[in-house]
């Protein structure tokens, strides 16, 4: 089974910020200290550029960015795939 390329790209991105070896797809990025507010902007920029989505005002909801899975679900919704 081929790995999900978006998941791979997102984990690679997060790996530039922190140690993701113990990070599960459902883990809370913020509560676990993997990503803090300082880096949230980088994450938002990455999501927009890497996955070709444009964030609207209503997208600024922490629930969309709380875990790897929630980011992937959000991108799928924005791209009309879900």
């Amino acid at each position: 089974m081929n790995p999900d390329p978006r998941r791979v790209a997102l984990r690679a991105f997060l790996g530039k910020l922190c140690d993701v070896s113990s990070l599960g797809d459902q883990d809370d990025l913020f509560a676990g200290g993997f990503v803090n507010s300082l880096y949230l902007v980088s994450l938002l920029n990455f999501v927009q550029e890497e996955f070709s989505v444009v964030l609207d005002e209503e997208d600024f909801d922490m629930a969309n960015f709380r875990s790897i899975q929630s980011v992937l679900d959000f991108v799928a919704r924005k791209r009309g795939e879900a």
């Binding site: 902007v41 550029e49 209503e58």
Partner: protein
Amino acid sequence: MEPHLWTADQESARAGFRAFARRHVEPHAARFDREERLDEGVISLMASQGHLGALVPAAHGGSALDPLTFGFLNEEIGAACSSARSLLTVHGMVCQAIGAWGTPEQKARWLPELASGRALAAFALTEPEVGSDARSVQTTATPDGQGWVLNGHKKWITFGEVATLLLVLARHGEQTLALLVDGSAPGVQRTPIRGMLGTRASMLAEIRFQDCRIPPGRVLARPGFGFPVMASALDLGRFSVAWGCVGLGQACLEASVRHASTRQQFGRPLAGHQLVQRMLADMVVGVRASRLLCLQAAAARAAGHPRSTLDTLLAKYHASTMAMRAAQDAVQVHGASGCSAEHPVSRYLRDAKTMEIIEGASEVLQGLIAGQARGDLRPDPEA
């Protein structure tokens, strides 16, 4: 100088910034410091040069400088006058926040005004009881059906005395909000703060909000995103201050070399004494190292690299501590004349101390840097 690390266009822009700063800013810096205000003339000149729109997209009337060129602007203005550089910092923070988080309507309304200098912006986060611990903000925003009602007290707000647009961090329950507030709105009361140690012309103010009604369309991003909005602005602020500190360190170095080369003691110039040479050498190395860290941060920002925030932390921490050491040594090299209020190096020393506190005190930055290092060095569970 390391001109091989940037382009000819960037070098040309840098030379222009330097010529402007030395002609129009530096000669007046002592007066600004003494009078505790920037005069409207220098602000207008900076606006006419596009400095206030440095971070505004061209589509909204800005100069849209790349990160390194913006850094050079801050270095050169910072070498001339830290208070003028402070204006670039806080004005740029608000421009950056609107550009990054604003709706098309918000960008169209405010960015052209800010780029032209018709509007001046201030960043209102700090409160009497809330400094580095920004999450504990006590100013409240309460929904009133359409917009918000703002109540609270901000303090130490750079250019808060004259800003026409305030970016305010407030709280609604557990949520934080970043609000765009007209400086002249009913319910906004501003009190100038005088007698600061450094960057004395930064026109600090206390700002009280009493039942201040904020119309709809003034929240950046959404309620709940206030802290990320402010954190991203602070990231830009640290970048600006870091470059300003490189300029401040360079000014200390140039003043010290001039004085040490001409002042004779014991039959030879001060620069001929080895203990003075140590101070000059430390300044040269410190300025160069800080500039290289700033260059690294600028490159990371230009590339959109996620480590740019960390690189900026490193640059600001190093450059601000470097500037403080350089200013202390510059006063030492100048002896009694350096202790005089009439001499620029005494202003440099007061300004440098401020640099270690604003946009993230050194101890806060050390904690963030150490925390990142602990994450980077976490033992590999597979090993």
